[in-house]
Amino acid sequence: MARKVVITGVGATTPIGGDAPTMWKNALKGVSGTHTLGDDWVEKYQLPVHFAARASTPALEVLSRVEAKRLDPSSQFAVIAAREAWKDSGITDVDGDRFAVTFATGIGGVWTLLDAWDTLREKGPRRVLPMTVPMLMPNGAAAAVSLDLGARAGAHTPVSACASGTEALHQALELIRSGKADVVMAGGTEAAIHPLPMAAFSAMQALSRRNDDPEHASRPYDRDRDGFVMGEGAGALVLEAEEHALARGARIYGELAGTSVTADAYHITAPDPEGLGATRALKAALFDARAQPEDVVHVNAHATSTPVGDKPEYTALRATFGNHVDNLAVSATKSQTGHLLGASGAIEAVMTVLAVYDRKAPVTINLENQDPEIPLDVVTTARDLPKGDIVALSNSFGFGGHNAVVVVRNH
């Protein structure tokens, strides 16, 4: 029998709250983290999209100036969320050789890279900061967290676009189950609200252009959805071998019962319209968790609010759950947070864990006219989940055909 893995700490810095409790309170209320950007670069570069979902608490309000100077914004968010999760776990003493980090990102230190390029062109190579390389490397966040908390059983960085954060939990579960670590800080981070990624995602028609009404731009499952909203922030979870957590009398939020990762091998960006890769991921995750489809009561969907993305996920859910799909309380929390790319899976995992722990499903906002082709039971006001044993899951899909699923069970 594989070791059981439990969640004992959560942390987050997001567009709807600078820590996990604030995020969760807002997620149950239903707020929009999306606002018009005040930056001069929006007009300077004539970006077609004028809004995004910024972290509600700027990293510089949490970290010292000197600390922040050496970290790309994506690593700043990671350190903030990881510190919160670590404190929340109550762990005061850990064997660093048995403590690992899996911290994902979709893009890595994009601000640092592009700032350095600007500096090179404007001021020459002498002015390029010596910290540029460690700040831009995609493993920078995992390394910063490992350094900050003394985690020496490896610092890993899964990179699978918007599935990255969920894949971090998958790797973490494997590390603990296989006995390579007892404790893992798992998470995901992203800080890509920069004109270049905004222009690039716009170029592929992925972003909503609802410039006159940004708060209602992220509207998964709505008939009038027109793209996702770029978000930023990080989520982090402390995962622990069950016996390790029990031995120290930890508060246990729930069990990370199973995970899975699959690839579509269908198209570099378009989801498989039949959702075959997603279906395989869902079935594999349930199998990994030793759960029956009927055990599942709640799904935190990937649902990014793009015209083409939301429906194949429904198709995959129906293929996996059959008629039980109608009994699932489905939440599309990107309606509130926007899409945090490589951080989204981690943040949604935090929400899924808290949903199981508090037995409440968070809210999907901006659903005015539900797409008739996606007849899911979408949670639009916070809803109680049943008593007794329950299972919830969170899906993430990424450009490249990446599919990742995590399954959480009450403990």
Partner: protein, 81 residues
């Protein structure tokens, strides 16, 4: 042309910006590595900022000779002439 006192004050400001150390801690006899705990990456950032502030050039091969704050002040004063 900055005086030695002005160079010291300017360096202290740059060190504070990079490391958070109090400017008063940046004294002439202090070693950058042993006393101020400044690593090689921070040192390069400080050097480049000092070049800009004082309008001098501090060649890379010279940086290893700048052991103390006083060494740096003297080098910058000499380079200004």
């Amino acid at each position: 042309m900055a005086s030695n006192e002005e160079i010291l004050a300017g360096l202290a400001e740059i060190v504070n910006e990079e490391t958070g150390l109090a400017p008063e801690a940046v004294e002439l006899d202090k070693s950058f590595t042993d006393d101020l705990d400044i690593d090689s990456i921070s040192m390069m950032t400080i050097v480049v900022n000092a070049e800009e502030k004082f309008g001098v050039r501090i060649p890379d091969e010279e940086v290893k000779n700048l052991k103390t704050v006083g060494d740096a002040v003297n080098f910058i004063a000499g380079a200004q002439e």
